[in-house]
């Protein structure tokens, strides 16, 4: 299987009054057989990057390689058209050809490649069996359900045995239940076929469950690349921290005094201390403004006499079955925490919250406004 190498890719769009950088020097490597996720809010450049890999868009600079094959190189002034790349792609809208049957849709890329008819039929049947759409081969896409269309699109992409498999938010048009089933299916399938895969999504749950590694993107740049665990436990900045995890990490404005060993965070009338290993960026020193970050699952309800507990007021809650998400305010800051399902808070009630210093982060970045 192939290794995808993206080096310093940039792309900007000229609007009438200004130039917008969709990608600003993006580099990443996708290992052979890896399931790689591009994650970010809409407009972060993840789809532009995917389209550049596919050959549907032309970057301004940089290089894209599949093993030693150069797909795009601004320096060498070389670019391969999509059909010279042997890359398969699944689109958000599925993009099935409405005037062809399911079988014709799946066979289309093979037909274009002039593959022998018997072989085409064999591969279409194999693909249809693999994705459990053997019973709808004669139907037109309009007659299919969303989930079936999705599987036809995947079958069409996979029958040609591509060197690279790209997916652009393929699950976002499915309802919640089907999405989780298909997610599972996709993961198993990718694992079995071992095709190097790049998957674009704005849904961090999808990213965390599917990805071997994830690249979190914002404003055309990669903020962090890592395994789901790394992103969760060692976020490099407040953006990654607040983008990964539901509900998102709590961020409270603080002034921090940081030395080699620890950071003292002044928040309202309190001072809390965290290890300097949890300060981002690492190695920051001195007195700085920033944010204290703590995940909702690391906050706990406690009694009033618990040492250093925060007295907060409940403003709302969501009961989601196995747990209850509690929203509260403390000294003008909104705090979210996860309590167990037996908790029945009432709005306006006073609650006491405890936490341990190990789970605290300190993000030094004046520019960030947490959402």
């Amino acid at each position: 299987m192939k290794r995808l190498t993206v080096t310093d890719i940039s792309k900007s769009y000229r609007l009438t009054d200004r130039t917008v950088a969709a990608l600003a020097g993006v580099s990443l490597t996708v290992e052979p057989e890896e399931f790689f996720i591009l994650l970010g809010p809409s407009g972060c450049g993840k789809s532009t990057l995917l389209n550049s890999i596919a050959g549907l868009e032309l970057p301004d600079s940089g290089e894209i390689r599949l093993d030693s094959k150069v797909l795009f190189s601004a320096a060498e002034r070389r670019v391969l058209s999509p059909r010279e790349r042997n890359i398969a792609m699944v689109f958000q809208s599925y993009a099935l050809y409405p005037h062809m049957t399911v079988a014709q849709n799946i066979a289309f890329p093979l037909k274009i490649r002039r593959i022998d008819k018997v072989e085409i039929r064999r591969r279409v049947e194999a693909g249809a069996t693999m994705l459990q759409i053997g019973n709808v081969l004669a139907a037109k896409p309009a007659e299919l359900s969303g989930g079936q269309r999705q599987r036809v699109a995947i079958a069409r992409a996979l029958v040609r045995e591509p060197e690279l498999f790209l997916l652009d938010e393929p699950l976002s048009n499915l309802d919640a239940q089907l999405r989780s089933v298909t997610r599972n299916h996709l993961k198993v399938l990718q694992n079995r076929l071992g095709i190097t895969t790049v998957y674009v999504t704005h849904d961090q749950v999808e990213a965390m469950t599917l990805g071997d590694r994830i690249a979190v993107m914002r404003n055309g740049k990669i903020e962090q690349i890592g395994t789901p665990d790394e992103l969760c436990q060692q976020p490099v900045n407040a953006f990654v921290a607040s983008f990964i995890g539901t509900p998102p990490m709590n961020l409270l404005p603080v002034t921090a005094e940081i030395d080699d060993r620890s950071a003292r965070l002044h928040v309202a009338d309190r001072v809390v201390t965290c290890s300097s290993g949890n300060v981002r960026p690492l190695g920051t020193q001195g007195s700085r403004r920033g944010y204290l970050g703590i995940r909702p699952e690391h906050l706990h309800l406690c009694t009033a006499d618990y040492p250093d507990s925060l007295a907060a007021t409940v403003t709302g809650y969501e009961r989601i079955g196995r747990e209850t998400i509690v929203f509260a305010t403390w000294e003008g800051n909104v705090i979210t925490l996860i309590a167990d399902a037996t908790t029945h808070p009432s709005v306006g009630e006073k609650i006491y919250i405890s936490f341990s210093a190990e789970s605290l982060f300190c993000f030094i970045d004046d520019a960030i406004s947490p959402e």
Partner: protein, 280 residues
């Protein structure tokens, strides 16, 4: 506040609707009826109390060689089909590029093409004659086909743009990924999906050119290339009188196919016209 109308009022309402409808219908159909009656009359100059029906004029027009009516029909069909066909092919290529590949000044080009369709035909009539004459194509099929292509191009182009822009671009992208060249994408993906649009465009272009009068009048001299509308207008009797029966019979024969086509494909035609009107 609503006042519910009584049963009597509602009956009156329906009556007025019906009366209005019949009036409008009569107004629109009267010329057609007049045409039919004249064509079928024994004495077309004196439509009156002692009306006698005959098919004489129809037989006359189809069998009298000196009238050249059959030849006019052949000219008209050949010229219209060729113009409509060629225009649709060229316009579909242009519309594909205009909807798929953004280029600098795209809007300006599109608006310029649109503005060309606003040009009054008479403005260019004189010069068009000089060009066609200089090319030695007066009174030939080609001498009409070429101006017709230019004349209906803006319309067909705009209608096709609105059809093409409704085909999702992700299909094109999927086709590229699946290994198609742009041309192959146009032929295997866009054309089949735009088939109803192509068909209605073809139909409209045909009807427009089939009915065209002025260019045909200027650019033809005789039956070698003269089309039906001009032919009918220039019918003359032996002694310079207007042979109304023959004229009307010819009109009926040429109107019927167009009316039938319009009725048969009215949905396509309406769609084509309104799409062209609204833009895509």
């Amino acid at each position: 506040m609503f006042v519910l109308s009584t049963a009597g009022e509602r009956r009156l309402q329906r009556l007025l609707y019906a009366a209005g409808f019949c009036g409008a219908l009569f107004f629109l159909l009267a010329p057609v009826i007049f045409m039919l009656l004249t064509a079928l009359s024994q004495r077309p100059d004196f439509l009156g109390n002692n009306y006698v029906m005959t098919t004489r004029h129809f037989r006359e027009i189809l069998t009298t060689p000196s009238l050249h009516f059959v030849r006019y029909c052949i000219n008209s069909l050949a010229i219209s089909i060729a113009s409509a066909g060629i225009t649709t092919i060229i316009a579909s290529g242009g519309a594909y590029v205009a909807t798929r590949f953004p280029f600098k000044g795209r809007t300006a080009v599109l608006l310029m093409i649109l503005s060309l369709s606003m040009f009054p035909q008479i403005c260019i009539a004189g010069y068009l004659y000089r060009i066609i004459a200089a090319a030695g194509m007066v009174n030939t099929w080609l001498g009409l086909i070429l101006p017709y292509i230019a004349w209906i191009m803006p319309l067909t182009f705009w209608i096709l743009i609105s059809y093409f822009s409704q085909i999702p671009q992700e299909l094109d992208r999927a086709a590229f990924i699946d290994g198609c060249s742009p041309l192959r994408t146009l032929v295997t993906i866009v054309f089949p999906l735009a088939a109803p649009g192509l068909f209605s465009t073809l139909l409209l272009a045909f009807i427009f050119t089939f009915n065209e009068f002025m260019f045909a009048l200027i650019l033809t001299n005789d039956h070698a290339a003269r089309t039906v509308p001009v032919g009918i207008a220039l019918f003359q009797g032996l002694h310079g009188e207007l042979p109304w029966g023959v004229i009307m019979a010819a009109s009926v024969i040429t109107t019927l196919p167009v009316i039938l086509m319009a009725l048969l494909f009215q949905r396509h035609i309406m769609q084509g016209l309104t799409r062209g009107a609204i833009k895509g």
